[in-house]
Amino acid sequence: MAIVDLSEVRKSYVKGREEVEVLTGIDLAVEEADFLALMGPSGSGKTTLLNIIGGIDSATSGSVQVSGQDLAAMSRRQLAKWRSENIGFVFQFYNLLPVLSARRNVELPLLLTKLSGKQRRSNADTALEIVGLEDRARHKPGELSGGQQQRVAIARAIVADAPILVCDEPTGDLDRDTADEILELLEILNRDHGKTIVMVTHDPKAASHARHVVHLDKGQLSTGTDEEAA
């Protein structure tokens, strides 16, 4: 069953007097517990597509069904709540709050739940343990390496047990070895924890960690082969 189901998705915006079409009729289905890499050159619409799947941007037309919900039919408030329960975001530049420790950054999504403070801390510690950073819980982002910050960001993405992770160039700011560690971590989350992962990348080596790869160029998709992903 497809956990992400896009049909005829178009996205355009007005730039000056000109209407620019970023996505021109995307059809995409991502099965539950899949690990999909979305590749393409700069400006191909990868991030826009990812944002639409994650519910932080909307399609101009077409159907966007994620986790069984029609995102176009939801209000901003409903979308916010839906995101907190269904989507974990991982960004290229980590986007951690610099004033908070690693544990508190991870705890952020749990502020929206009814969990007690003690439970929130415990869940945050568990998420940090999964990403191998339990001994860095009290450190602030500025005191962590890029790879460690990205692990904290991944812990934040999984702490509320969201079934889908959307990752926008998660290794784009990391060296090769650190990037591999992060990709292996994503693989573990996909394989052992059943997370559905949609990852935007322009790096073929990063894409090789995914089960499937799709290419986006000039707003249109072309499906990769299993060999590409292997």
């Binding site: 932080i56 916010a80 975001f89 986007n95 951690l96 709050l97 004033v99 929206l112 403070g117 929130r120």
Partner: protein, 387 residues
Amino acid sequence: MSGMGLMWANLFRRKTRTFLTLFSLLVAFLLFVLLRAVAEPFAGGGVSVDGADRLVVTSKYSIIDLLPLSQLGEIQRVPGVEGVTHQTWFGGNYQDPANFFPKYPVEPRAYFDMYPEFAIDPAQLDAFENTRTGIVVEEGLLARFGWNIGDRIPIQGDIWSLKDGSRLWQFDLVGTYRHRDPGEAAPVALLMHYDYFDEARSFEEGAVGWYTVRVSDPEQAPAIAGAIDALFKNSPNPTKTSTEAEFARSFAAQIGDIALMATGILSAVFFTILLLTANTMSQSLRERIPELAVLKTVGFSDARTSLLVVGESVLLCLIGALLGVGLGASVLPAASVVTQQFMGPVSMSVDIFVQSVAFAVVLGLVVGALPALTAQRLRIVDALRRG
């Protein structure tokens, strides 16, 4: 961590800026507390004479109108009155108008009987009583002007002239007085002999500024005050009897509408603070637009995000207000020692505290409104791009 923890952490992201803003708020609320404490009695409806053991009798229409000395005997005969004496405002300057301190012609012994809280050496009191040009001063004036007992002190009269037309009054310093309680300060003043003053002045002989009355039973103070005023109701010199505190405030109010002046000053101060704090909050918001976008990304609603922003603003103002109010409450007792001399004591009231807190909340809401609206309207994808 809670929402409050998040606000707290954000508030101190740039410590120097936050501390400077807090300092500004502290000063503003300190001013608020001090000026409100001073203005409150003037804005109120006066002080009840209930429970007062000393009353002040002034002219009904203006405290600058003089009363005839002949009223003293009549007041003395009012049942419940234990003692009466009088004082008059002399004005005048010693060397320079900047050296201002109050000067009163008094009845030497009756004055110190009326104010047993002031201590004077008995020999000096005798000298004061027996020297027509004698004066006694609050002991602090000796150090202030380098005076010594026995000095001749010239005072240039501004209201009162001598019979020969001159305004230069010469007095002999015969003693000093102080408060019996070392922790309290006596009013800074120069006391002169009324008999000499009355004989020497060129006009208004036989008139006094006001009477001070000691009552035998403070519970009866309202009735006695009413009886005194009734006594002179239909005379050419009707009176108004009030507490000393109320009298002091009426005296100070001659310089203008103090409540209005305080309001004017506070309005200017808080308008400046409003701009300053609003600027701080706007800067803080601009710096973390991408972070607010992250909060929204992980599921914070528009309303919740804007609440965090406005909450931070209210928190900032509340901390500044509480620091200012705390400092104000600690300096008011010292300020009261000074103000007591000319307008009665000032103190921190519950009303002032409640007003400060309410004002801080309103200030925080106003200052945070625009940033909160910006945060609410923030589009995640646009904001993330700015990161």
